[in-house]
């Protein structure tokens, strides 16, 4: 298992697991798999940022990654 710091924002926050800041997940987990495992509809996730850099669904999560997921935001 590896550990990540996961933050889910705005409408995604309701999918936050307990202890999301030190979440244990299996090795070789992609962002796409993480989103599915958390029960988040994939079309709700627009921005994936990991350690301060934009990534895509295929990113392979690593131990101690800081992961943030954002929905689409377009209001003015």
């Amino acid at each position: 298992m590896i550990q990540i710091d996961l933050k889910l924002f705005v409408t995604l926050s309701k999918y936050s697991p307990k202890n999301s800041e030190c979440l244990k997940i299996p090795e070789e987990t992609t962002v796409e798999k993480l989103i599915a495992d958390l029960g988040i509809p994939s079309d709700l996730v627009k921005l994936i940022f990991i350690n301060g850099k934009m990534q895509d669904l295929n990113y392979l999560l690593k131990h101690n990654d800081r992961v943030g997921l954002f929905p689409p935001v377009g209001g003015g």
């Binding site: 933050k7 924002f9 705005v10 409408t11 926050s13 709700l44 627009k46 921005l47 940022f49 301060g52 850099k53 934009m54 943030g68 954002f70 929905p71 689409p72 935001v73 377009g74 209001g75 003015g76």
Partner: protein, 235 residues
């Protein structure tokens, strides 16, 4: 004559800004697209800091639901034009600013003409579709865009220069993006709108002065429930 006809107007801008920089701002033109939660704050701040020419564009009129966050809205202005109100507000703050108001919605037919004389365009729009159309027009005109977007107490700001990938990095490819974000469910809270409009105003001033760090190919993300503030590299 000094920098302003009204002695002392810009005294508290110095020395954060130099006198030369103040003159540069006075000779600058900024177009503000969208005069809601973001646009109202942007017009207020740019007029006060001393941008010399503001063109403010929105086809909408005020409704009661604007009062929770839109700086330009007031109860007695419900039904009145946002653009006309913005012009009066800017004139009242700083009569030395040339304030133009256009009461029209922007689309492919009028975007280019609406922005072509600007040094910077402020994207304070509430439609993702129109943001992409703005980027096409700004590319053609060779003008940078400062874009803000909000939902609830979350917001994001980026700066897009001509021929940057821009919105596609944030919203995905144009053809696959939705017209609206989650703000249709979260609404927008006043302090978040004004916070993001302040960040946009700061980006605008930095571009006009060629100074400071610009959010080009970067996205500043903020979420106020958790005090999250992060600048994400988009490429």
């Amino acid at each position: 004559m000094g920098i302003s006809k009204l002695e002392g107007r810009y005294d508290r801008n110095f020395d954060t800004l130099s006198h030369e920089e103040q003159k540069t701002l006075g000779a600058s033109t900024v177009v503000v697209l969208g005069l809601g939660g973001l646009g109202g704050g942007v017009c207020e701040m740019l007029a006060r800091v001393g941008v010399g020419h503001l063109t403010m564009i929105d086809g909408d009129s005020f409704e009661a639901s604007n009062l929770n966050r839109q700086l330009l809205s007031q109860e007695h202005l419900i039904g009145k034009s946002k653009a006309g109100t913005a012009k009066k507000r800017v004139n009242a703050i700083n009569s030395e600013v040339i304030a133009d108001a256009q009461k029209e919605y922007m689309d492919d037919s009028n975007l280019y003409d609406g922005i072509k004389n600007a040094d910077v365009v402020m994207d304070c729009l509430d439609s993702i579709d129109t943001r992409f159309k703005l980027q096409d027009a700004a590319n053609k005109a060779g003008i940078p865009i400062v874009s803000g977007a909000i939902a609830g107490v979350a917001g994001q700001v980026t700066t897009i220069f001509p021929n940057d990938k821009g919105y596609a990095l944030i919203y995905g490819e144009k053809s696959r993006s939705q017209s609206k974000g989650v703000e249709t469910r979260t609404g927008n809270i006043a302090y978040c709108a004004l916070f993001v409009s302040a960040l946009q105003s700061s980006e605008c001033i930095k571009i006009l002065l060629g100074r400071g760090d610009i959010l080009r190919n970067k996205l500043l993300i903020a979420e106020l429930w958790t005090n999250t503030f992060e600048v994400v590299e988009l490429i």
